[in-house]
């Protein structure tokens, strides 16, 4: 009986979804749709002709040259497709929620027994169907590459799968931003900014990541999360627990998880205080973070450098900056969801209550540090021993672990101080702000003040300085920058963490002072 209910509920969400059906009818109707698809085909056709013309301009060529050119033809076609995916897919969902909110049809939906999951999944299905249409319409173009011998159908299918996953992630980002935005313009701008940031972040992190495949030519699957690298990561594999897993499968899994988290984030924002969507979002975000780090980090090639371990903790905690205003700030106009509800409490960790924001932030911090640390413990015994060393393998491993622990510890402690500082500042600023918008803006300003502004100023002052042997600046003025010991893995990081905790307490003192006046109400 329970299985039948579960099945019928999921059929209603994934198969007979009313939102997807409505979008489908509107998407494929009228001259506008025909004109858009025709335009897309003409652009693709034009590009293919130019691409072909570029590779065919020469006289006699060796077989290798011809092979190289055909492969270039295929690669360029896929880059073009990736560009189309990156440009078109974010816009498919960027306005979807905000338009409903402006048209006030969202109220009609929420007065009906529609689940948030059903509505959001319906919008995703509509957008993903559009992405698939983009890929299907490009088949004639890629067929040329296959027929000429530039690629195999296997390559094409793997790359298409990765491209479609990329489209899925970008549309889910669009949906998340749309649920947070108040105007269509803002939603579109922020969606493209967030998508750009995501693609750039993948590029940076993926470039720094070591090869995790069975051979050094295998691209890390992380890089494939960016559609522009689909063609390169498609044929690669990743070594996980001794098994070679095709990258497109891992990319698909991670994309679905990112998509799920984005949808849960959107649902959490659209739902009332303490909803199960908020609880699921908070639990699953910590869980995925921990599991993901464990999965990636346990690969023996992932933590090739002690500093990479420390950086992983710092970078991941740093990403939380983006979400901090939403997690921490409160205001008198914030209602039950974003209003003041008393001093910190563990009970509010998953409900989204402001009193639980510190506990939730620390949970994420714990998920990151523990995830990295446990992954490190798992991966270290798999390191290949140094053949030139006279020491026993066990001693080598202990020494190696000893190299990793200090920078990891500095990083973990520093990020704790960093998070605590912004929590305290957020409380202090929120207590004095009259609106939620002011409260969040204030926190963003504090972030810029502490970590953004000093960078160009100090860089200008020390522009002509020479580096010391250890890579640090010879001018000690950089010591005033709170992130300096963290960025350089210095043993002074815990001292800076202490300083940041003090700043956090100053924020709390400011809040307490303000709360003595009867202004804040729940």
């Amino acid at each position: 009986m329970a299985a039948q209910t579960w099945l019928s509920r999921n059929i209603a969400v994934y198969v007979d979804n009313p939102t997807a059906m409505r979008d489908f009818r509107a998407q494929l109707r009228g001259n506008k749709a025909i004109a858009l698809w025709s335009l897309y085909l003409f652009v693709m056709m034009g590009f293919t002709l130019i691409n072909y013309y570029t590779i065919s301009q020469s006289g006699s060529l060796s077989v290798t040259d011809i092979q190289f050119r055909l492969r270039s033809f295929y690669d360029n076609s896929m880059y073009m497709l990736a560009a189309a995916i990156c440009l078109i897919t974010p816009s498919l969902t960027a306005g979807s929620i905000v338009v409903e909110r402006q048209r006030k049809s969202l109220d009609l939906l929420f007065s009906a027994p529609v689940s948030l999951k059903g509505m959001l999944v319906g919008k995703m299905i509509g957008a993903y169907r559009y992405t698939l249409m983009l890929l299907i319409l490009s088949i004639p173009m890629t067929s040329v590459a296959v027929v000429m011998g530039g690629a195999t159908w296997s390559d094409v299918l793997q790359t298409y799968a990765i491209l479609s996953f990329g489209g899925l992630v970008l549309t889910s980002i669009g949906l998340l931003i749309s649920s947070l935005s108040e105007t269509v313009g803002a939603a579109v701008i922020w969606t493209y900014l967030a998508s750009g940031l995501y693609l750039y972040g993948i590029l940076v992190v993926g470039s720094l990541a070591p090869p995790t495949g069975p051979s050094s030519s295998d691209m890390p699957f992380l890089l494939g999360m960016n559609p522009f690298f689909a063609v390169m990561t498609g044929p690669s594999h990743t070594l996980t627990a001794g098994h070679e897993i095709p990258n497109w499968i891992l990319i698909g899994l991670v994309s679905v998880l990112i998509c799920r988290l984005s949808l849960l984030g959107a649902a959490s924002h659209l739902s009332p205080f303490g909803s199960k969507e908020t609880q699921s979002f908070r639990i699953q975000s910590a869980l995925y973070l921990f599991a993901g780090l464990l999965l990636v980090g346990s690969n023996s090639r992932a933590f090739y450098d002690p500093k990479a371990v420390a950086d992983a903790v710092g970078v991941l905690c740093g990403i939380l900056i983006v979400f901090m205003p939403n997690i921490l700030s409160y205001s008198v106009d914030g209602g039950k969801k974003f209003g003041y509800d008393g001093p910190p409490q563990v009970t509010g960790t998953f409900t989204g209550a402001r009193s639980g924001s510190l506990a939730y932030l620390l949970l994420l911090w714990l998920a990151i540090t523990l995830g990295v640390f446990i992954a490190l413990l798992i991966s270290v015994p798999n390191f290949a021993p140094d053949p030139g060393s006279q020491l026993a393998r066990e001693t080598q491993l202990v020494n190696r672990l000893a190299d990793y622990i200090p920078p990891f510890f500095y990083s973990a402690v520093w990020t704790f101080g960093f998070l605590f500082m912004f929590w305290g500042l957020a409380r202090g600023i929120s207590a004095r702000a009259k609106t939620l918008k002011n409260s969040r803006s204030g926190l963003i300003c504090a972030m810029v003040l502490f970590f953004g502004l000093p960078l160009p100023v100090l860089s200008m002052i020390t522009a002509n300085d020479v580096y010391r042997e250890n890579g640090l600046f010879s001018n000690h003025i950089w010591a005033v920058y709170l992130a300096y010991p963290f960025a350089n893995h210095l043993a002074t990081a815990p001292i800076y963490a202490g300083l940041m905790v003090v700043i956090g307490f100053a924020g709390l003192a400011a809040e307490r002072e303000r709360l003595k006046q009867p202004v804040i109400s729940g």
Partner: protein
């Protein structure tokens, strides 16, 4: 049955709805009256589970708006004071979309859509695009949407706003027929004479407080401190005025612009007849003697101050 128990909503320091309570039975057509910002829409939205109350609750056929919001939504049809229509979609597709959301099976949907279109007189517009409909038709389409799942309670927020007189009359007839079918209808409106025509219960709200509540006649009567009688004389008004001043049941007396005397009278019907006898007996030539009937509008203007949040 709808039972509202002490519903309360605050926005910071602003009290939008201050613990209002009422209950309605099947067939009741409840007119919810109040100025803009009085708290009507907030109350309706709380019953529709769109806004979470700060206190109190409401039960719709036994389902609590806080505990069982999804079950409550299955029982209600909510029509806001805006259309919320989608573009590039046909009338039947719009209804099909909502029928699907409300769980009407794909086998039953065509029949349900035909029925609600017939009920709202939109059958001829079944294949038209919603944006091509007139305002009155769009309003009826919204009502049709509310009916696709045969709800027990209809929450209609300003359904007649912006409609021409014919469309209003048609809407009124439709609501009356729905009330006769046993649905509970909550209608908020500014057009009080129309509400009085088809509502059997009214509630007057101001600054989040329910000032008056009950059957229309009782509320109007309860709102009157005394009867108002208009008397036209053929003879001198001054002498009649002097006489009326001596009568113990006449509480208030003033001449109006038509040369009549308007008196406040605290007695009953028998006393009215006696007063008329006395006037004639004292030689006053009475041309017209009638009690003025108070209506909802009078009552509304008398008991409200026009203050908003």
């Amino acid at each position: 049955m709808l039972e509202v128990r002490g519903l309360k909503k605050n926005y910071g320091d602003l009290v939008a709805v201050n613990g209002i309570s009422f209950s309605l039975n099947p067939g009741d057509v409840f007119g919810f009256i109040g100025s803009n910002g009085a708290g009507k829409t907030t109350t309706i939205k709380m019953i529709a589970t769109l806004i979470e109350p700060n206190g109190g609750t409401a039960l719709v056929n036994g389902f609590d708006i806080l505990q069982d919001p999804l079950d409550v939504r299955r029982q209600i049809g909510y029509m806001p004071d805006f259309f919320g229509l989608y573009d590039d979609i046909k009338v039947w597709e719009y209804l099909d979309f909502f029928a699907n959301i409300y769980g009407v099976t794909s086998r039953l949907r065509p029949e349900v859509i035909d029925n609600v279109l017939e009920m709202t007189d939109l059958t001829v517009k079944k294949d038209a695009f919603v944006q091509s409909l007139s305002r009155g038709m769009q309003q009826r389409l919204c009502l049709a949407r509310c009916l696709v799942h045969d709800p027990a309670l209809l929450l209609l927020d300003e359904p007649a706003s912006g409609l021409d007189p014919r469309a209003r009359a048609e809407l009124k007839d439709l609501l009356v027929s729905l009330g006769k079918r046993g649905k509970i209808i909550v209608v908020s409106s500014h057009i009080l004479p129309e509400l009085a025509d088809f509502c059997n219960t009214v509630g007057i709200i101001e600054r989040g407080n329910m000032l008056a509540l009950g059957p229309v006649d009782e509320v109007v009567k309860a709102g009157q401190a005394h009867r108002t009688i208009r008397i036209r004389f053929l003879s001198s008004v001054e002498t009649a005025e002097k006489f009326l001043h001596t009568q113990p049941l006449v509480s208030d007396l003033r001449p109006d612009s038509d040369g009549c005397l308007v008196i406040g009278f605290t007695g009953g019907l028998e006393d009215q007849a006696t007063l008329l006898d006395e006037l004639i007996a004292h030689g006053h030539k009475v041309l017209d003697f009638r009690e003025e009937q108070a209506d909802l509008e009078d009552l509304f203007l008398r008991i409200t101050t026009g203050a908003v949040q």
